[in-house]
């Protein structure tokens, strides 16, 4: 394998506090050297002049749908979407069929990821058997198989006692329990945020409190047990404030936010646009601003896509029946630039940290860094090029986006996985 030299880019590596013009030499899939100037000496040269070079992004929250719903997405199509979006690691959620609640299912997804070879595919194991919220899975077996965390994502773990035990038991493994915070009774039947838009459209709403009552309970349980709670896709101002206070008290809590919750409000639903139907729902401008501030001040640790692909026939249905979720991997960077870089909320090193270094740390992976000796998982970005979102051109099988037609800034030029260009 020829050496690869990425020349003249602005290299941003928050893990090593590096931000400047450097050349990166890649040899046998690993980062061999980083210097202000490295001679080519026969290496394949990638000209990155005027571009950004960052560690490949790490997505803590990806629905690859395989096994079970290969019509929505496969490990392969999902990895192509990841590569196109600048991601070199994806953590697949366990709401598959069968659920990733046993070693065989986890092994299958990991193996399929290796076969595809476009990104590092890791899994989040199910927290309870069949994601039924009744009996805990065999945590040790799942972590041994390579799961990075446990969650019943899509379903909340409603049983408080079971959550207590899960947080306690997971301490042995120093890994987080990821909660999809949604009180099942308060959110029952809801299809969007409860507010003026839901009232106008006559749609059943889910109040922000459906999220925050579970956040509040689980923070109390994390405090009681000393266990590690991670909240998926926070969506409301109240939840952000609860986490902020808990972090001050020293509770072991981390959390993530999606690009769409940072960029949009419930107004995006307009007149029944199912392509803006997500769970948790898009909420108010006040919530959005609180999420931005939470990400800026470190209350929210990282950005995760909640990439949730669906088929056309399911998504182009009546609002009540259409499934929650949008295709997020390919628009993540552009949306983050619009929501975070352009308004001056985050600098580029801060954004890269929240897209790669921080999620890698939460997942316990040696990813999200450009250290010499590390795997050469990186992405080359044009920070100022513009593009128009056309979901029909997504490589993901999920072709639904509330950003369709929007002009975004920030283009992923190439993604290298283990030193090799990953073809999106």
């Amino acid at each position: 394998m020829a050496k690869v030299l990425i020349k003249g880019g602005r290299v941003i590596d928050p893990a090593n506090k590096r931000d400047g013009r450097f050349d990166i030499l890649i040899d046998r899939g690993k980062i061999a050297d980083i210097q202000p100037s490295i001679p080519a000496n026969g290496s394949k040269v990638i000209d990155a002049d005027g571009k950004l070079v960052a560690p490949g992004f790490v997505d803590l929250h990806t629905h690859l749908r395989e096994p079970g719903r290969e019509d929505k997405e496969t490990v392969e199509s999902g990895c192509r979407a990841a590569a196109k979006g600048g991601f070199t690691t994806v953590c697949a959620m366990p709401n598959t069929s069968p659920a990733i609640d046993h070693r065989g299912a986890a092994d299958f997804v990991h193996q399929e990821g290796r076969r595809v070879g476009l990104a590092s595919v890791r899994t989040i194991g199910a927290l309870t058997k069949g994601r039924q919220g009744k009996e805990l899975t065999d945590f040790g077996e799942l972590f041994d198989a390579g799961c990075v965390a446990l969650s019943d994502d899509g379903n909340v773990l409603a049983d408080g006692m079971l959550m207590r035990r899960a947080l306690e038991y997971a301490k042995t493994f120093e890994r987080p329990i990821i909660q999809h915070a949604e009180d099942p009774a308060l959110a029952a039947g809801g299809v969007m945020h409860e507010g003026i838009v839901s009232v106008t459209l006559g749609l059943r709403g889910m109040p922000a409190q459906a999220e925050s009552v579970i956040v509040s309970r689980d923070l109390a349980l994390a405090e009681l047990t000393g266990g590690w709670i991670h909240f998926a896709h926070l969506s409301s101002a109240i939840s952000v404030e609860l986490v902020r206070q808990a972090k001050r008290r020293g509770v072991h809590v981390t959390c993530e936010v999606t690009p769409h919750h940072l960029a949009l409000t419930h107004e995006a639903i307009g007149e029944f646009n199912t392509h803006a139907k997500v769970n948790p729902p898009l909420r108010t401008e006040e919530d959005r601003l609180a999420l931005l501030e939470g990400l800026r001040d470190g209350t929210i640790d990282c950005i995760a896509t909640d990439h949730a692909p669906h088929t056309d026939w399911e998504k182009d249905a009546e609002f009540d029946a259409a499934p929650f979720g949008i295709s997020g991997l390919e628009t993540a960077l552009g949306v983050c630039v619009e929501a975070l870089i352009k308004p001056g909320l985050l600098t580029w090193p801060q954004l890269v940290e929240r897209l790669s270094t921080a999620p890698a740390r939460i997942a316990g992976l040696e990813a999200g860094t450009l250290s010499v000796g590390a795997e050469a998982d990186l992405t080359v970005l044009d920070p100022s090029a513009q593009w128009t979102v056309d979901p029909k051109r997504f490589v993901s099988k999920g072709r639904h986006s509330p950003f369709a037609g929007r002009v975004l800034t920030g283009v992923v030029l190439r993604t290298l996985y283990r030193g090799v260009e990953a073809d999106g």
Binding site: G202, L203, D316, E318, D320, A321
Partner: protein, 324 residues
């Protein structure tokens, strides 16, 4: 009908929308145009021969995913009196369960070259979904808790007929505001035409955000009745509701049911309206429903004229879209 037809032709030019999905997206002028057109059509039903050739050769489909008698019959009769061909289709509400999506159903109907689709569905937004994917004109005949525009139009028509105007009239809507498409469409229509609207019911049935639509909210029935020119009752849909919204129907009747005694607080010329069907002895006592203030049956009669007007105006706009 010759003079009327001429004036319709002039009016049709002002109507540009392909669909009637709700009153939210209509201007006051468009609402007035429908009411004026309905005025001319009302007279047809009084003739010995109750039929005009206005929609001859047009095909209208009543596509009802939710059972309905009065609205369906009203549209059917309206179409027949305009000489359109009309078909009734009672479709599976959850077509997804048998593998066929709503859009599949609509594409099949499209293939038969129909002109207009009248749609009722238990889910909000279905007429919008269909309108986006269909060449046919779509009329919303009630979508979930969202809108029921022709009901509100016939209510406006009835108020106009009985009170001579809508502007400045004080209307109180009482009942399950949260789940009522009739309430929403009436709020849009009444406020656009300058009426003052109060909504009233127990707090579990009145979302506080509704105030942002320009209405007054009260949980006290007396406040809603006092000084109202029109009291509009909504059906308490106990068959659809969660038990927790109102402790019991008896409790509701005791607090919010309208009887003759309570009506004494109203203006002497108050109008009692109800979209039907009435739950006698729940939201409305029989002697009020059948009493002198009630215009409930006038609403039904006017519904026919309003639906004829809507079918007529929408068919005209469709004709204009076709190449000369």
């Amino acid at each position: 009908m010759t003079t009327a037809t001429v004036s319709h032709a002039a009016q049709t030019a002002q109507w540009t929308k392909k669909d009637l999905l709700g009153l939210r997206e209509l201007s006051a002028e468009e609402i007035r145009l429908i009411l004026q057109t309905a005025e001319s059509f009302r007279e047809i039903s009084l003739r010995p021969i109750k039929k005009v050739p206005a929609l001859r050769g047009k095909t209208v489909v009543n596509l009802f995913f939710e059972p309905s008698t009065r609205t369906r019959v009203s549209f059917e009769l309206a179409a027949k009196r305009l000489s359109a061909d009309i078909m009734n289709i009672a479709a599976q509400s959850s077509s997804l369960s048998k593998g066929e999506t709503i859009l599949d159903t609509v594409r099949n109907l499209e293939a038969l070259k129909i002109d207009m689709l009248v749609i009722r569905h238990a889910a909000a937004g279905v007429p919008h979904l269909i309108a986006k994917h269909s060449h046919a004109s779509v009329i919303n005949a009630g979508d979930g808790s969202h809108e029921h525009p022709t009901q509100a139009l016939l209510d406006l028509f009835t108020i106009q007929e009985k009170k001579g105007r809508v502007e400045g009239i004080s209307v109180s809507i009482i009942g399950d505001i949260a789940h009522s498409r009739v309430a929403r469409s009436n709020i849009w229509g009444l406020t656009k035409l300058g009426a003052r609207v109060t909504v009233c019911g127990p707090a579990t049935l009145v979302p506080p955000q509704i105030e942002q639509l320009g209405v007054r909210v009260t949980y006290k029935l007396e406040e809603a009745i006092r000084g109202a020119d029109v009291v509009m009752l909504l059906r308490i849909q106990h068959e659809r509701q969660e038990a927790t919204l109102v402790p019991s129907l008896r409790e509701y009747r005791l607090r919010y049911g309208i009887d003759r005694e309570r009506l004494k607080q109203a203006k002497p010329d108050v109008l009692i309206m109800h979209p039907g069907p009435v739950n006698r002895g729940v939201e409305l006592d029989s002697d009020v429903a059948d009493g002198p203030f009630s215009v409930i049956l006038d609403q039904v009669t006017n519904g026919l004229a309003v639906r004829m007007a809507v079918l007529y105006l929408l068919s005209g706009s469709r004709l204009e879209e076709e190449p000369a």
